[in-house]
Symmetry: C2
Subunit: 348 residues, 2 copies
Amino acid sequence: MSINEPIKGKATSFDIAYRAGVSQSTVSRALRDSDLVNLETRNKIKAIAKELNYKVDKNASNLRSQQSTTIALLLFEDPTTDDSQINPFFLSMLGSITRACSVRGYDLLVSFQQLSDDWHADYADCHKADGIILLGYGDYQTYQQKLVSLEQQGTHFVRWGAVREGHIGHSVGSDNFQGGYEVTRHLISCGATNIAFIGGVSKGAPEFLARYEGSCKAIKEANLAVNPKLQADAINTDLDGYKGALKLIDSGERFDAVFCASDLIAVGAIKALTEQNLRIPEDVAVVGYDDIPLASFSRPTLTTVQQDTKGAGEVLVENLLHLIQGEPIVTNTLAGKLIVRQSSSKPG
Amino acid sequence: MSINEPIKGKATSFDIAYRAGVSQSTVSRALRDSDLVNLETRNKIKAIAKELNYKVDKNASNLRSQQSTTIALLLFEDPTTDDSQINPFFLSMLGSITRACSVRGYDLLVSFQQLSDDWHADYADCHKADGIILLGYGDYQTYQQKLVSLEQQGTHFVRWGAVREGHIGHSVGSDNFQGGYEVTRHLISCGATNIAFIGGVSKGAPEFLARYEGSCKAIKEANLAVNPKLQADAINTDLDGYKGALKLIDSGERFDAVFCASDLIAVGAIKALTEQNLRIPEDVAVVGYDDIPLASFSRPTLTTVQQDTKGAGEVLVENLLHLIQGEPIVTNTLAGKLIVRQSSSKPG
DNA sequence: GTGAGTCATTATAACGATTAAGACGTAAAA
DNA sequence: TTTTACGTCTTAATCGTTATAATGACTCAC
């Protein structure tokens, strides 16, 4: 037993051991409720620990047990957007992820990443985190290499995004195809026959592509024709939505509805349409995707698909923890919910 | 020198030492660019480290050096709001804080807190973080006790909020008084004579109070009368703004402008006013505070005060680091910027 | 040629926990 | 009585660093 009566700085388990008249290892066990130590001593030790305001040193604990009970969240955005404007959708997810982590006793390390950095090595490798959650719209191709090396290093990670064949690692995502399908069915039921789509399809976010494909399916099912000219590229900004809408108008093609791949795009599109004196939804119905807070306050309020952000955070964390513990993963697709608002109200 | 030729799991500094033919301590020094080790050996060691994909173990490093190069961000909201709706203003701050941390080589631990928990002990005490950033609107009284005990434990922390006399610890905040003053001067210059205020004043967020007081100053300076009946309480939600506006209308008092203590409140207020067929800004001018993304897209677009969130994150982190290193703190107040939009356009 | 002064590196303790293996009574089984 | 077993606790090794003191080698001055 070490003879360090006075507590110098923060209390250590040795200080408690001394006061309790037991060995340090017993203290360590007692505080983690090991039944290798007598209940009475256990309580005594806990009492002393509380009195001394003792907290287990995370670093020492992690070092010895070789795990950090910490999860790293890596947010990466398209390089075009700066850090002051973060996608609201991801931010709302942040809440549920944090919650999900803390419920399970995990800490959350947050980091925004430029895709250029070698983030893939910086977290799990130095034992900062047990696993990584990757969040970001973006071109899968650009960071596939990093995922491969993550995989090779045996790092545990899950990503939010489209669940597709051939993708590395485990993904959790909204059922974008189904969402696009339902949006379009809704538009058709409102009387739309020429439905435009604003959102990058050829390259870029696979989520957008899935939404588009779902939309096409609905159009075909209704015996309408898919018009490729009624599709305008846009990444996930309002400015791009604005430009996309202008492009559609300039194309001279007729359209009575616009399905925007995201709410931000929709906001921009609405601005453009309004400036051209088109009435929404009378002349053109508009639907977005994501149900960001703005959607319910824009004028007109925006019909959109609400992604289950609460559930998403929960599932992401849950799956990652399963992965870490070598258990099988269950869910990986979350249903979206169509929220009908003014921008696409039914006639009559 | 330990004789462990093969690398078992992740490489350690011993593995590198073996390959470089030097001692482990030399490796440790070399990787931190100590000039106690010859430049040539240093480069050699670095090369080998890179080749082996070696990363310093954070836990071991932290344990030994007794610091974590990690900052904890504690976000706490009024208990009324749930985790799915986080104040956009704080979220936008999150971006700059993350950026500021990573630039300085610090990690960021994020946590949302219910005020009830004993978060005050859970971060610095167990060496998870070197310091804490506290973010949250909220009644100062409710968590003052925690701040006191933080202080007592010698924990370093900074908070975002009103800088007031008698408050524990270091605060960084917008100059809310000045902001309120300028908003109101602007409204008066637009011709307003009866300016209402929606936002909790008597108790609750001191930020709101400061904005109100600034407003009152401007009113008095213009030789107008401050009408206490034209002040409605509201915490920071759109619903409360809605209710507040209705209350003002029901009061029967005349008013031609509403200064809302936050954009969220303003959004709710606009909704209420519009429903009562009041035109904005013709009948009533409306101004918010915060410049959340929604402000520039609402109909009408919302005049507001843009808080310098980018600068705020920077200053918060900077100050905290100063605090940790025992250096003096310089800045603690950030100027806001009035953004005039449609909701309060000048006549003519 | 002995002592002082550099320079580059090594040997060796910490840091504060976890955990396997061993020790010591005491009670039950042989 | 001796053995086995169990409950309870201690001893000691370990995690992978960082930091301090010690070691050699080698130059330089008196």
